[in-house]
Amino acid sequence: MRHTVLWAAAILAAASPVFGQSADDLNLQFHGYAAQGFLYTTHNEILYSDSSHGSAAWTEAVINMTVQPKPGLRVGAQMRYQLLGGSVNAITLDWAAADYKMNDEFGIRFGKVKTPWGLFNETQDIDPSYMWALLPQSVYDITTRGADLSHDGGVMYGSMSAGPKAGNADYRLWGGEEVISENDGQFDDLNNSGNGPLEPLEYLTLGGALHWRTPVDGLMVGASDAYNRAATVLLNGGSESFSDWNNLSYFAQYSRSKATLAAEWNRQASPATLLLTGRPATSASTDTVGWYAMGTYKLTDKLSAGAYYSAFIDHDAPLGPDRFTKDWTVSARYDLNEFIYIKAEEHFIDGTALSLDSLRNPTPTPRYDLTALRVGVSF
């Protein structure tokens, strides 16, 4: 809340030129979406829900306001209501930022801003913008995305020619403070054992991303890396300390006519030590690698189909199905019109490292199928 108030004050100060202008002059806009999902699994309870019996506890509603008082200057904020199983049921601030784009080569936004790592991080929580009901969980894990989506600070961005006939390079540089709430999915096991955090985990993050739009029409390749500084969080009955770690991604996307292909590889090696009162210090380190390859095709203006393979492994986890998750997915999306869309998806999953909390899944079944349906309205 403290961060929200501070950023609201800063954004209002930045927006001072807007006072006294009419709504039309300001280009005042409201946008948003609402989406309702349904989950069914053949085994296991996924995403904190009772999915083996079918669960509709997967709801999002987002409202966004933007004003553009002068060319190049934008000020906006976005709020979200999210329900995810029995874990998340809250209204949060997605972002609140002032953005000044001087020209194509340089722009800056500050406030609570989206963190632009990877191929989809900036849009991973904008359901209408992609065809999947669930993005590949190996890289965009919905249960821990609170740790990835945004930071308090700033982003510098721009696009430059890479040279004659060499395409364009889009860059993003960011820095600020990452704030992970006490109920984020990465603290599931601690919360379930009664040793959950007493405060949010806060740490410095610095990063950069480069997207090279190559001379090959439709082909983009890129990389991003974020340095996250060591931090400690107080727990109920102890503490957890994280050493410096990086979030590294390589990605590529190729779009031609009605087809799009994309792939991404991501590694996050996070050394950590858990210290609980009366017990010896234990390692809570993770060294995860996630990757996926996907393809989509527009069958008609309204109907798209696609498939992806997604794989995740934690090299620091014990051998066994808890160490990995592999997921073959087929998906379809139908847009009834520019407002309403429907998504249907089938996942064939092997491994229990992702999406299954230990409270609802004390002895998870390694192989299971997931059916995910989603209907949404956006404006």
Binding site: P71, K101, T123, E338
Partner: protein, 139 residues
Amino acid sequence: MKNLSRIFLLCTASLCAACVRAQVIVIANPNLKADFVSRNELKAVFTGTSTRLAGGDRVVPVLLREGNTHNAFTSKFLDRSPIALTMNWRGLVMSGEAAMPRTFDTEAQEVEYVAHTAGAIGYISEETPHGGVKVLTVH
């Protein structure tokens, strides 16, 4: 047989009329230096990737809400459906990367706005009166 010929001629004439209706031109504020614009530039500007043309002009895209001209423009110049274009912009807006371009219900409103707004670039049917704006040649 005569009736069949008439029906064929009628269908052909209707199709030609539809083709003529779908003839889209790109218009811009008369103060723009550029006289030409490439398809790649149009794609970059109307999908939010770029705000500048090769000659250095800073441009601001405007859209039509719906209709034959809008459909023809998005498919011919942007290689995507009107719905895909809308979703593209909503993704940018809701991730905090852009504001939705101004959108007009009629082509006459769009012409009026483009004529009086520095850097504005849009598209209309060739048949729509377009005094006060510059027509850009697409190559």
